[in-house]
């Protein structure tokens, strides 16, 4: 096992290119997961039993199956029915949907934690359904759940290498192609690990700060 620093500097620009795509996918995926999670949480509270049940089962199904297979499904099956997505878009949709089912649980806990009195007060003030949600419930429910949401976004970041399986040129894929070109695995693979460790350690610091700032809810 010999470690070659010159080779490390040589492949660094390619890997940085990959890191950018990885971070982009994480950010877009997080935004989508935040939206999908809220939609699922609201649908499960719906008055309509059929909607609530079927969304609940759908979420269970997504959560019980591997992200990799879901990515394959989006990437290979959807074109057959005429939906052709670029790899990165397919990847972001996969990440967003998968983690949306996790963030839905966070939203559910956050909404349940809003005291009953707030609902009654909204009713007493004669607010309609939409205004109750946007002005009373969500502004109180969302800040305490920010740390828990961030936790899932960090988990999502660590799953982005799966996107390499559907040909997105993110960090892992760049590292693999470099490794295959030069037939040297030690440096690229170790660097990928180092990148992940550094970024996730930084995000743990950020998470601690968020927990300090917004408090913490139990799931």
């Amino acid at each position: 096992m010999d470690w070659d620093w010159n080779f490390v500097w040589e492949i660094m620009p390619t890997l940085i290119q990959g890191v950018k795509i990885t971070i982009l996918a994480t950010i877009l995926g997080s935004i989508l997961a935040a939206i999908v999670g809220l939609a699922i949480a609201l649908a499960r509270r719906s008055e309509n039993r059929i909607v609530a049940r079927s969304v609940g089962w759908f979420a269970e199904f997504i959560r019980g199956t591997p992200l990799l297979v879901q990515l394959y499904f989006i990437f290979y099956v959807l074109p057959d029915i005429g939906i052709l997505l670029p790899p990165l878009v397919a990847g972001v949709i996969g990440l967003g949907l998968h983690y949306g089912t996790y963030t839905a649980e966070v939203y559910r806990a956050g909404i349940d934690n809003v005291p009953r009195g707030q609902w009654e007060a909204a009713k007493a003030c004669n607010l309609n359904g939409r205004h109750t949600w946007t002005h009373i419930i969500l502004p109180q429910a969302i800040p305490p759940m920010i740390p828990a949401l961030a936790n899932y976004f960090i988990a999502m970041f660590k799953e982005t290498p799966l996107l390499s399986a559907i040909t997105v040129l993110e960090l892992m894929n760049q590292a693999k192609s470099v490794a295959n070109t030069y037939y040297r695995y030690i440096e690229p693979m170790t660097l990928v690990g180092a990148f992940f460790l550094v970024i996730s350690l930084c995000s743990v610091v950020l998470l601690r700060w968020l927990e300090h700032r917004y408090g913490r809810i139990e799931r």
Partner: protein, 219 residues
Amino acid sequence: MTQWSGYLGLILQGALVTIELTLMGSVLALIMAFLAGMGRVSRFFILRAIATAYIEFFRGTSIFVQLFWAYFVLPFAGLSLTPLQAGVLALGLNVGAYAAEVVRGAILSVGREQYEACTALNLARWQGMRHVILPQALLVMLPTFGNNAIELLKATSVVSLISLADLTFQAQVVRSQTGSTLMPFLSVLIIYFALALIISWGVRTLERRMARGLDGVRV
């Protein structure tokens, strides 16, 4: 029709590999979880430091990176692993790190008075742990262990990328041989979901069974 049953056989073969991986990975994860989780609540600084380093490292880097590292980099250090060995090693160590935090949390959740009772009965530290603390902590760990086992089941899909013929891999084989996409991926998704349901059912049953003797004890 005969052709279709041939492909179904292929997928079932993959399912066996997935089950095998999940079982072996879970055993390794369980061992690591108890070693590292009890290491973190140890009296000795060095044990705490080793356990913390292990947990932070394996939770900080992605399972995917660990798997590739085990499969592609370790051979250069003179340790060649088969895909199955690399898969079990990476899955077990990764999920073990997450489960270690569960073990630690469960041990800390046992009430102070239980520790005081151990002292009052003049039990040695290890005896108290073995006969008083762990039996109660185990019940707290079980539901989260169930979730971890499902995460492990889902994570097994990534071993298909280091050419181990699991469910996901066989779905890809069927896709490339038949050109049909919906059938392999949908059936594989359903099998994964069924396995996840079996795990959660098994853990619930185990939980009921174990709670039986502890009725009056739990607070």
